[in-house]
């Protein structure tokens, strides 16, 4: 038997770019995820970049990235016929995932109450900017609004310029991944209780969960102040530590931790500097084994001592390439990694050795495309890449015929009525 992890389950994916990732994760784990798009296709298909830079709904790389492994049908929820078809499909499905503005499905008579009457086992996953209700529920949000309201922008960017987002949009992806987690919690419960439930995901909360250790800082019983953005440095407690170092062909990220957890790494770093003959004399006088960031041994303040160490490291890095420094890091066990570009990643020996990249056929374009591969590996190949992203309405006949038993003549009528 070679059944996939979620092989028995069907997902109707009504989302646009705000929720694609959720269905992608379930599809990767083997669920039959059917992308349900309005006639003409998901509006997210208009987002570039495009294959060959030619804008077309079937060539959006943005769409491809998050809709691999899904089937695709068209359905117009704004018509009564379309809603009728949707109800029939929902009765045969295990999950419905949606990212409409809160209240939209309720307005169509397709809210959670309605759907669970139709199919009590159904799990409805709703992805929105701030949640289904509350004072900001109807606020409009894009990626940058999510990164701002979720607290990530305030701590990202250079101090003398405006806060920044990640240039490749992230906020809705965090929401979509949390949605998949929530869906699976509900799924586990359904196996015991026999009932589905409503999963309500807030992009803002999903972004807050990326803030690492930042949220307690301003509380009066912690430090009473907010962390602020520090460019290529990071703030920890009252110190700021350089984290990005320029090198000959770009940048590397290097962490100086000190203290218990950092001793092994600092030892590696010092060995490398010694070997290169660039370790200043005072290095030998410091008991690095017991050195921590907070207690200076050589300089009047911890910050000055840190900066003296950083200056030596920075001079060294400037002479080397990313690859040379990474090789040294691997050899000496230093907390250093290259700031990779996407091009570097395609050359990365580790990803290649693990067979990460996956070639996927796009026969209608006469080409194969290299996709990022499974998010998790394992002895049973938990994630499999089974099909390229769907063309607009590609599986209408397969789904409406196979699942609902509609004939071609029925489909032609529904198409004429604007329902699919």
């Amino acid at each position: 038997m070679d059944e996939s992890l979620l092989g028995p389950y069907r997902v109707l994916d009504l989302t646009d770019e705000r929720g694609w990732v959720c269905g992608r994760i379930l599809a990767d784990l083997g669920a039959d995820v059917i992308k349900v798009e309005p006639p003409g296709g998901d509006p997210g298909r208009r987002i570039g970049p495009f294959y060959g830079d030619v804008p077309h709904p079937d060539r959006s790389l943005y769409f491809w990235a998050f809709n691999l492994n899904k089937r695709g049908i068209t359905l117009n929820l704004e018509t009564e016929d379309g809603r009728g078809l949707f109800r029939r499909l929902a009765a045969l499905s295990d999950f419905v995932v949606e990212s409409f503005d809160p209240g939209y499905l309720d307005g169509l008579g397709l809210g959670f109450g309605e759907l669970s009457r139709l199919n009590p086992r159904l799990i409805l996953v709703s992805i929105s900017a701030f949640g289904q209700d509350g004072p900001y529920a109807h606020y409009r949000a894009t990626d940058i609004v999510g990164m701002a309201m979720g607290g990530m922008m305030a701590i990202s960017g250079d101090p003398d310029r405006p806060p920044v987002r990640v240039s490749v949009p992230q906020a809705w992806l965090h929401a979509g991944a949390q949605a998949a987690a929530g869906a699976m919690v509900a799924h586990y419960y359904r196996q015991a209780a026999g009932r589905g439930q409503h999963v309500d995901v807030s992009m803002q909360q999903a972004v807050i969960w990326t803030l690492m250790n930042e949220t307690p800082f301003p509380l009066p019983d912690f430090y009473g102040f907010d962390l602020t953005r520090a460019g290529g440095r990071r703030r920890t407690g009252r110190l700021t530590i350089r984290q990005i170092y320029p090198c000959r062909d770009g940048y590397v990220c290097l962490l100086i931790l000190g203290g218990g957890p950092g001793a092994a790494f600092i030892r590696g770093l010092l060995a490398l500097l010694e070997e290169a003959g660039v370790a200043p004399d005072w290095f030998r006088e410091v008991d690095w084994e017991n050195w921590d960031l907070a207690t200076p041994r050589r300089y009047p303040t911890a910050q000055e001592e840190l900066e003296a160490l950083e200056a030596v490291v920075a001079d060294f890095c400037r002479q080397k390439t990313k690859a040379e420094l990474y090789e040294a890091a691997l050899k000496y066990g230093i907390l250093l990694a290259p700031v990779n570009t996407v091009a570097d990643l395609f050359e990365n020996p580790q990803l290649a050795a693990r067979g990460f990249w996956v070639e996927v056929d796009h026969p209608e374009l006469g080409t194969r495309v290299t996709y990022p591969g499974p998010f998790v590996q394992g002895n049973l190949n938990p994630v499999r890449i089974r099909r390229r992203p769907p063309l607009v309405g590609e599986h209408n006949e397969e789904v409406y015929g196979g699942l609902l038993g509609l004939s071609r003549a029925d489909l032609a009528q529904l198409r004429a009525a604007g329902a699919i």
């Binding site: 992890l5 990732v21 784990l29 083997g30 570039g48 970049p49 790389l61 959670f112 409009r140 894009t142 990626d143 940058i144 701002a148 607290g151 922008m153 701590i155 310029r161 405006p162 920044v164 987002r165 240039s167 490749v168 991944a177 987690a181 869906a183 799924h187 209780a193 309500d200 995901v201 803002q204 909360q205 807050i208 803030l211 250790n213 307690p216 800082f217 301003p218 912690f222 962390l227 460019g231 990071r234 990005i244 940048y251 990220c253 962490l255 203290g259 890091a329 907390l335 250093l336 290259p338 700031v339 996407v342 990365n348 693990r354 996709y371 998790v376 590996q377 394992g378 049973l380 938990p382």
Partner: protein, 404 residues
Amino acid sequence: MGARAFEGLKVADFSWVGVGPITTKYLADHGATVVRVESTTRPDVLRLLPPFKGGKPGLNRSQFFANYNTNKLSLSLNLGVPEGREVARRLVMWADVVAESFTPGTMAAWGLDYEAISKIKPDIIMISTCQQGQTGPHARFGGFGQLAAALGGYYEVTGWPDREPAGPYGAYTDFICPPFALAALVAALDYRRRTGRGQYLDLSQLECGLQFLGPALLDYAVNGRIATRAGNRDPYACPHGAFPCAGEDRWVAVAVTSDREWRALCQVLGRPEWAEDPRFATFLGRRRHEDLLEGLIGEATRSWDPFDLMAALQAAGVPAGVVQRCSDLHRDPQLKHRGHWVTLDHCEMGPTVYDGIPFRLSETPGQLERAAPCLGEHTEFVLRELLGYTDEEVAELAAAGALE
């Protein structure tokens, strides 16, 4: 208290730092019994990192650790001695799920790798998560999420094009991976229920982290384009950025995605003449004059309170949000409505504020019931109540140094 989704599920959690503990936190917050296996000689790094309650360091004073370990039990165990490893094996026999996040090879050295434990517990589900996966030439590269964020391309694409990379803050990929890992774990549990088979999951934080760069990776694969940082510019919205407001370092993020929103922005800012300006009438026009436009808008927003400006823009249908600091988040009315912040009474820190569950489930919402454990807080409970050790046996383990 309502039903709990993972009631009865048992988890032996050898993981530490970020991805592993955040993943098992979902299980603990929804009712599973999660035993964190900890060491007093090599404690979880996060116990040693700030923020500390009252600014005072201590193994049981880090909220960095506490935030990821609610509802869990802490078993202090020395895996360096045979007696400790024997307890670990008994814990594995008890468990449905084993999680770990050591440098590859560590669990094998203790006889606790999947090959070994699946012999004594064939249907075990085990997840290993580390920086770059269990196999391959860089498998043993130890590190933290900041390095995976650099390796994974995120630093290259954050910041200004004329400056060095400037974010995203923190160990970014550590916060991409956990929901993926949770989905895979629950899928594996479902598979076991159907087939009786356990399995091994090998989650590379680099590979999982790359999932959120998909469009940029494909753009390189098919078009040869190398993504880099673009400040706050966006290919489909203009103006698009963070604009200064009244107060020190206060900003509002604004995304104008249509001509209608552009006209609404001009109205709200009291500059109707901009809407009439032919230079700015179309998206392409605004794009061409984006530097000028950003300067003009920044002058107009500077006198606004950031929250007032957000409310006014939202009322006019323009996507906008305050660049919130954490102190803002603690006062945010929407987060309050969602119950995002939860106060729990910690054994040493006392009442402390935790981040809540990131999604709301209508029937099994989950609950933060217990604060994070102090190191070894539940050692005796776990040994006696969960694993059935007698008092004498516990004393012998302690004498053998197995409980350190």
